[in-house]
Each structure stands twice: as structure tokens, then as C-alpha cells.
């Protein structure tokens, strides 16, 4: 697994993803660049259709192609170029170097096998551990994700567990080979409020304890505030702004980030109108010319309509794609 010494654990440069269907070509991701180091926590925030999930699926080459078409200048995980990786390299990376957890734990497990069988299978695939040892390992993992009666859960089928419990089991499975990075794709959206808080805290604790990289994909700015060190804000298949988490909340540079923060309900005291972003998200099959946000942007001018701004550095650690900043 040790090839080149990579600059970053994960590096993505100029990623484009499109889907072709009967309705024509849909450009889901249009030139995204990201990177992640060991132990770092990156939050990707965006609304549905912004391309955040698709970007992460592309990093592990989990999109079926066709219909997906992926191109990138660079798409590396632990020094291995994903677009050209061999089958064996790819399966060593998936689940071994980089794990992923998903939005709906209810559909993420094979209904025909017990939780234990599915965790054991992952361990054995990557490490070839004998079955009995792998089972002990699975038990230890379930304890680690704070499941109350791990022995019983090990022999349960997915449909017998609650959503929160299953998501814990999914996390245990994702951690089973001590990955260096965990991609969490809206891991708490389908869960209740209190369960969401528990799962987030669990992910955060484990990440810090294991020194693992974390990519948290979410539409919820609150989740970002609680889990991420660095944030990328996506809109219309592009990154609008990337900055340390404090800067995103205290001094956002991009009008979209500002509008998004303002429209979060429950910030002011008492009842009142919220600041809303007029209009709706761009249709990915025919994205607007120029800056994708210009139709809804209060500060848009002629330049924003005609041409698309590049990401430009705002401070040493932050960048935004807005003509107002250049």
C-alpha cells in the first residue's frame, strides 16, 4: 500500500461528474478540488443537488458508469490514483484505507445476513483474520460504538434494529479495518434529533481517538459547526467557498454562505420572519451561465451573469468563488 508518499491523504483536483440519461446530460459536479490530511475533519455542506454526495462517491469510484462519467486532473487516496487503480488496489482502499457511512442505515445493510456476519466479512476481506478472531473483533467494535448488548446485536438481522442502533453498527463496520479516512454521507439525516446528537458525538470522539480523517457531508450547518475543522460550501456542482470552520460562521466571504447562514431558523429569539433565499436551486441539466448562484444572489451584477468566477484566495486558509472578491 505504500507507494509514493502523497502530499495529502485525499486529493481531488478538477473533478467533473456527469450522468447521461434519456433527459440528456446532467452535470452533477463541475470542477471540484478538495484535499484532506490525516486526522483532519472536512465538512462539505450543500443543499440537495449541489453535488456533495456525488463528489464523495466519485472519490471511492462508487458511481456506476455508465450512466456516470467521471474525469479529474487528479483523484488520489493515499497516493493511489483512483481513476486508474487496479481492482485489487481499489478494494484495498475501499473499506481498508477509506470507509464510508450512508444516510439511511435501514437500507445500507444486506437484509439476509446478521450484523455480525457483515462485520466479520469486512474484517476478513481486508485482513484475512480467522473467523472466530474476527467475531471477537466485531464484538469489540460494537462495544466501542456504545451498543448496550453487543452479543445480541451481533446475531440480529438488520430489520430487527432501530435506525440509531443500525447506524452505530454501520460505524462499527466502517471502523473495522482502522481506516485512515471516514466519509460520512449525511449520516444523521434519517435519525431523530437526540439520536443525531449521539451519533455525531460518537463519530467525533472516535475520529479524534483514532486520528482518522473525516469528511462530513451534510446540508445542516449545525452539524458542520459541531464536527468540522475546515468547510467546503457547495452549490450547483461547484465549491463556492472553502475556509476554516470559525471563519465560515464568523466572517463568511461568499454571498451564498452568508444567505445560507441567515436562513437557518431558530437563531433569533421568538417568532419572526426568516431571511430567505428567493428562487430555487439550479436545474443540473441546464445550469445557468456564469456564477451558478447569480439568479438568487442579491449582489449579482453583469459580470456574474456572463462569466463564472474562479476560487480565489481570501486569506491564507480560505478561498471563495465570487467576482466581488477579486
Amino acid at each position: 500500500m505504500t507507494r509514493l508518499s502523497p502530499d495529502h491523504l485525499v486529493s481531488v483536483e478538477g473533478l467533473h461528474v456527469s450522468f447521461s440519461g434519456i433527459q440528456g446530460k446532467v452535470q452533477a459536479v463541475r470542477g471540484v478540488s478538495l484535499h484532506l490530511d490525516d486526522g483532519e475533519s472536512l465538512g462539505i455542506v450543500g443543499e440537495s443537488g449541489s453535488g456533495k454526495s456525488v463528489s464523495c462517491m466519485a472519490v471511492l469510484r462508487l458511481l456506476r458508469s455508465p450512466p456516470a462519467q467521471i474525469s479529474a486532473k487528479r483523484l488520489e487516496v493515499a497516493g493511489i490514483e483512483i481513476t486508474r487503480a487496479s481492482k485489487s488496489d481499489l478494494s484495498a482502499i475501499r473499506g481498508g484505507v477509506a470507509s464510508m457511512i450512508f444516510q439511511d442505515p435501514m437500507t445500507a445493510m444486506d437484509p439476509c445476513y446478521t450484523i455480525g456476519q457483515q462485520i466479520v466479512e469486512t474484517i476478513r476481506t481486508h485482513r484475512g483474520t480467522p473467523r472466530r478472531r474476527a467475531r471477537e473483533e466485531a464484538l469489540r467494535l460494537l462495544k466501542k460504538v456504545q451498543i448496550a448488548s453487543p452479543e445480541a446485536i451481533l446475531d440480529s438481522f438488520p430489520h430487527q434494529l432501530s435506525g440509531g442502533m443500525l447506524q452505530r453498527a454501520m460505524i462499527a463496520m466502517a471502523l473495522s479495518c482502522r481506516p485512515r479516512v471516514l466519509f460520512a454521507d449525511e449520516p444523521t439525516t434519517a435519525l431523530d434529533v437526540t439520536v443525531q446528537a449521539q451519533i455525531l458525538q460518537l463519530i467525533k470522539e472516535i475520529q479524534e481517538e483514532m486520528g482518522m480523517g473525516l469528511v462530513m457531508i451534510t446540508h445542516d450547518l449545525g452539524v458542520i459547526a459541531e464536527t468540522s475543522d475546515r468547510v467546503a460550501v457547495m452549490y450547483g456542482g461547484k465549491i463556492m467557498e472553502t475556509a476554516p470552520v470559525e471563519r465560515i460562521f464568523e466572517a463568511p466571504s461568499h454571498p451564498y454562505t452568508r444567505a445560507l447562514l441567515d436562513s437557518v431558523p431558530g437563531q433569533g429569539k421568538g417568532r419572526g420572519r426568516l431571511t430567505e433565499i428567493p428562487g430555487s436551486a439550479p436545474d443540473p441539466s441546464s445550469p445557468p451561465e456564469g456564477c451558478p448562484f447569480h439568479p438568487r444572489c442579491p449582489e449579482a451584477d453583469a459580470r456574474c451573469i456572463s462569466s463564472d468566477p474562479e476560487l480565489v484566495k481570501v486569506t491564507e486558509a480560505s478561498a471563495a468563488a465570487c467576482w466581488r472578491l477579486s
Binding site: S91, R94, G95, T107, C112, F157, Q160, M173
Partner: protein, 310 residues
């Protein structure tokens, strides 16, 4: 498990009871009984004696009960077309060629169909997918007697490779087996493809890929297992469906099996034999559905273990 099986058994028994009455009444409304004036020149007296001998002068429900009581003891009476033996004896003799040819057809067709369906699902929108779809559509829509005809024309009449009819040496079995095999082949190609595609689109398959499992393991260990549940339930009814096709296959290939006796029993108005065959098939169908349901419940952990929070 037992409770469920028993409940289904009761339901199926009720259905079978109703069906047996329907069959019985249908047989009785066939115009021109065996001892009709037009059929046999018998005197009134003789006819009456014959009717009494076969119990045909009693009220319908008594006839029905008598018949069913006999049927339970495998006594279906004497076939008109072959008075020297019993219906049970005739069936016992005739079912062997039917089972051999039909069984071999299913045995050949089912795995081939599954393989074709799997290949189609895994290589979607390639030539093998189109081939599978074509085979499935042809097999399910072209009547089996048309298939049989074409087989004979091709292999016996034009190419002169294989004999077209008869029973005996295994060489004669080949064409009928192919004819039989088309139905399971087509059925399984279509169902396997659909079930596999359905499973492949499930989110858990993406999770399995994200775990680093090899594509082969994903397909054989997970996708196949999930797809097998609906496939297993198709098997028994399909098997019997193939048996129904024997009417044509045996008529065309001149095989002395149950199907050909069924046809001749209709032509000769041999109702003891017809009645027995209908009843046996109905009960086999009922049992096939029962077995399918139980198997489905047993294979599906969601049903077998129940529970769950919702």
C-alpha cells in the same frame, strides 16, 4: 413457523375444496354422457342399469361425496377408453414418460435460464442482455406447440438429425426435452434478470462495494442470495405449468404420457380419467403454491425472525 404453515394449509384446503366442486360440476354438465342415446345404442333398461352401476342415478352431492371418498383412497374408477384397468393404474403407467421428459426439460431449462438472466443483469444493455430479453419474450409468448413444430421442422424434416416422435430410446427424447425446456428457460431468464437488477439497485450493494468486497463476492454471496428469494417461489408453479404444456408436447411428439391421455380423454368423453387428472393437477397446484409460500417465509429473515421496531 408451524402455525403459519397450518393456516396456509387450511386456506389452500378450502380453495381446493371449492375447485373440486367446480371440476365435478363441470364434468357433469358436459353434454352427451357416455351412455347417451346418441353415443351407444342401448335400451332404456340397460342404460338405467349402467347408470346405477356407475352411481350416476344418485343426487349430485351424494355422487360428489362418493367420488371424493374414492379419490382419497386413489380409487378414481375405471377409464372408459381402457376398461381393462383402473384410472389410477393408467395414470401410474402414463406419468413416467411425462415426468421423465418434463422433469429433464425443467432440469435443463432452469439453470440455463438463471445463467442467462444473471449474465443479462450483470451486463446490462449489451448483446447478452438483449439476447436474454429476446429468449425470454419468445419463450413466454410463443405457444409450446409452435416451438415443438418448429423443432420438428428444423431438426427432423429439414436437417434429418433427430427422430421426431415416439418414446423409447433416449435419442427420441431430445426434441421434446428442448420443447419443454423453453418455458423454464424463458421464465427463469426473465425473473432472474428482474430480481438481480432489483437487488443490484439497492443501496446496500453500494455499501458492499464501499467495504472493498470483490465484485464476484458481491454477486454470489449477496445479490444472488437476495434475488433467490423471489426466484424460489416461482419454481413449483412453473414446474406444473410445464406439465400443462405436456398436452401439446406429447400430442406432437406422440409420447404416451399423461398429456396425450388427457387429450384423448376429452375426445372420448372419458370422464373418470379427465376428472382424476384435473383433480390431481389442481391439488398439485395448490400444494405448489403452499410450498412456495412456506419456502418464501422461511428464506426471508424479515418474515422468519419478525420483530423490528416498526
Amino acid at each position: 413457523m408451524l402455525g403459519y404453515a397450518l393456516r396456509r394449509l387450511v386456506s389452500v384446503s378450502v380453495t381446493f375444496f371449492v375447485v373440486s366442486i367446480i371440476i365435478f360440476l363441470m364434468m357433469h354438465s358436459i353434454p352427451g354422457g357416455p351412455f347417451d342415446a346418441g353415443e351407444m345404442p342401448l335400451t332404456q333398461e340397460v342404460r338405467q342399469r349402467m347408470m346405477a352401476q356407475y352411481g350416476l342415478d344418485q343426487p349430485l352431492y351424494v355422487q360428489y361425496l362418493n367420488y371424493m371418498w374414492g379419490a382419497i383412497r386413489l380409487d378414481f374408477g375405471v377409464p372408459f377408453q381402457s376398461p381393462g384397468e383402473t384410472v389410477a393404474g393408467l395414470i401410474g403407467r402414463a406419468w413416467i414418460p411425462s415426468l421423465v421428459l418434463g422433469g429433464l426439460g425443467v432440469l435443463v431449462g432452469t439453470p440455463l435460464g438463471m445463467l442467462l438472466g444473471m449474465a443479462a443483469a450483470l451486463r446490462r444493455n449489451t448483446w447478452i442482455d438483449y439476447l436474454a430479453s429476446a429468449v425470454a419474450t419468445l419463450g413466454l409468448t410463443v405457444p409450446v406447440f409452435v416451438t415443438s413444430m418448429l423443432l420438428i421442422l428444423l431438426f427432423s424434416v429439414w436437417l434429418n438429425w433427430l427422430p421426431s416422435s415416439g418414446w423409447g430410446e433416449p435419442k427420441r427424447w431430445i426434441l421434446p426435452i428442448i420443447a419443454y425446456a423453453t418455458i423454464p428457460l424463458a421464465t427463469y431468464a426473465r425473473y432472474t434478470r428482474a430480481a438481480m437488477l432489483d437487488t443490484l439497485s439497492k443501496p446496500f450493494v453500494t455499501v458492499l462495494r464501499a467495504k472493498g468486497l470483490s465484485e464476484r463476492r458481491i454477486v454470489f454471496q449477496h445479490v444472488l442470495r437476495n434475488s433467490a428469494i423471489p426466484l424460489v417461489t416461482v419454481f413449483f408453479p412453473m414446474f406444473l405449468g410445464t406439465a400443462t404444456g405436456s398436452i401439446f408436447v406429447e400430442a406432437i411428439f406422440r409420447v404416451p404420457g399423461l398429456g396425450s391421455f388427457f387429450v384423448s380423454s376429452i375426445e372420448t368423453r372419458d370422464y373418470p380419467l379427465e376428472m382424476a387428472l384435473m383433480l390431481i393437477l389442481a391439488i398439485l397446484f395448490a400444494l405448489a403454491y403452499l410450498l412456495s409460500d412456506i419456502l418464501y417465509a422461511w428464506l426471508n429473515p424479515r418474515i422468519r425472525f419478525g420483530g423490528g421496531s416498526e
